[in-house]
Symmetry: C2
Subunit: 413 residues, 2 copies
Amino acid sequence: MALIVQKFGGTSVGTTERIQGVADKVKGFREQGHDVVVVVSAMSGETNRLVELARSMQSQPTPREMDVLLSTGEQVTIALLSMALNERGCPATSYTGGQVAIVTDSAHTKARIKRIDTERIVRDLALGRVVVVAGFQGRDEQDNITTLGRGGSDTTAVALAAALKADECQIYTDVDGVYTTDPRVVEGARRLDKITFEEMLEMASLGSRVLQIRAVEFAGKYNVNLRVLHTFQDGPGTLITLDEGIAMESPVVSGIAFNRDEAKLTIKGVPDIPGVASRILGPVSRANIEVDMIVQNTAADKTTDFTFTVHRNDYDRAKVVVEQIVAELEAREYHGDMKIAKVSIVGVGMRSHAGVATRMFEALAAEGINIQIISTSEIKVSVIIAEKYLELAVRALHSAFELDREPTEDNGV
Amino acid sequence: MALIVQKFGGTSVGTTERIQGVADKVKGFREQGHDVVVVVSAMSGETNRLVELARSMQSQPTPREMDVLLSTGEQVTIALLSMALNERGCPATSYTGGQVAIVTDSAHTKARIKRIDTERIVRDLALGRVVVVAGFQGRDEQDNITTLGRGGSDTTAVALAAALKADECQIYTDVDGVYTTDPRVVEGARRLDKITFEEMLEMASLGSRVLQIRAVEFAGKYNVNLRVLHTFQDGPGTLITLDEGIAMESPVVSGIAFNRDEAKLTIKGVPDIPGVASRILGPVSRANIEVDMIVQNTAADKTTDFTFTVHRNDYDRAKVVVEQIVAELEAREYHGDMKIAKVSIVGVGMRSHAGVATRMFEALAAEGINIQIISTSEIKVSVIIAEKYLELAVRALHSAFELDREPTEDNGV
């Protein structure tokens, strides 16, 4: 007997048959005696259809009206799922985000949740009803419809779980959990039973896109037990939870993340004087270019080298900005490279273990892979390498940290 | 400088191109200095699509969830039209029925409007904005989404016009006005410039379906000037308004209505005693069969004949009920006929003119058309004739009352 919030994304509710399947699944949980709140997205394809309609009306659709339009997608799904549940003798009531009410700020198309009134939901649950809530949407204080932007349905589910103090928030997807790394790259990649919020954040932002970062942050902040599961396959999935009790028995490194979306830019011979970093990054950020890694090494003489990475889509624009910076700072030159990849080892375990980075560098050296840039945080070490070595590096690290083995013992350094 | 409520139905907003066309039209009114509130339906086809989705989920879709589902149809249209208006530099804001708020009772799928809060609309109009409102929908006191049922968008428009004390409520359709009779039957059928609410009610309920009866009733009750116009053709349309100043100059008869949806049932030799009518119609109404005309003539001896008409779809069921009644009342026999048609002359003018019915009967007699049943009200005379004479009768009456001529003089009896 628990209170569970379940979230089904667009693919899970992509056809009427799939909605029926979700209804069967939800009914199963009810029959086990659990209270269930279901959060659903728009049927897959629907949001794109609506966006195209909008674009045919207005070159830059008014954000407020875009929210009125897009929010219909989830509204259709909540009604259909509630009908399917009622048909199964499983009483259900649907609510739009505004009806719940999920109250947000007024930043249309990317609103932030301010508070959630759970009164109606609590009352329905007490009556033995399943509550079906439209993900991705809310209303502002003036009763305008808002949407939460990308990954908003995950955020809705986690926020509801937090507000309802649910025992678990289950995110159903097309994967059966979070893996030590991408199974398409490493054959021995293994599903993790548990992972911490922080590890998940590093894994997600580094390319293992299972959950939206924002939802994980939210879950971490409010300590919501988050579980990633496969919609149409049974299995325990991966539980994303607090650090407690995991680090002790867990391996040093939980997973290997990577991406090849980035490009690097290095400015050489930058005067080693205070304020130089902001004089470089200021113009870049003013050009609306997001920067990921930033590395500056100790100056050897009176100049230093400054490197940062940007998304490959922004590479050409970034080069134009950098050319100007080089001239203004009277730096020596700059050098750019698109053919790079970032590989990271992630794990809360490494906090308390020395030598994790060393083992990483050794593993890469053993394969003859040159490391161009190194950057570290509390629970990860990232390196930039030539793109062509990416798969080789990921496999070497997966093996070096024994991630293909079940973590029955501490296999740290 | 007037306040106009304009309603565009599903066909008028059936494609993105048509929504653009409506936006152009609305912009034109704004540029003339009018304040405009636009009420729109779902894009044609959308409601049927949603109903099919619902039926694939639940054999008898839960009404509350049906409303959640169907209301998305208009919500899509209001967003798209607002975008199209904004694109044209004509600031617009959309509201769902619930947001306005149009507050209804809780009779899902056939809710009745209880009150309308016009505060947001008035404020937006004062700011020079066009207000786009979703037709057909509202919310109940508990903030559940409701829909108004068939023809609900017309009702929304009229109710808004009443609440806002608008100068005119314009209903855009695929006809350019209300005609003296069906132009497909009578070549000389003529568009009426004006017609009274009562006449329109009689015309509408008798088959000239241009406007939903409910909206006309509403308009009459709150004295809203209602105008029927063609969406994509310019023209004055037909103004539906109060009796005042019309009857004086108008012809006796405004139009000829007809339908062939009915069947008649006659019970012969019914004992002429008090309470017999209810003993006949009670069982019929308990069988959920709607009765239109009811005629009983003075008894010749101690028995009388009792005739009523029902919709043809209910004819077979009605016969079964009538058979029992005949047995119970020990009536002589019953006789039924599906091949009938009802033809009516409608006009407020006939109130003050004698001999209108006579002229009608003479015109029919001149064509050798036998009258089976006669029924009259304040502003109409209806006859039942054999179906095969329908077109002939309508043409004869149209001509007899000179409806093909412009009403420049009193062409009454």
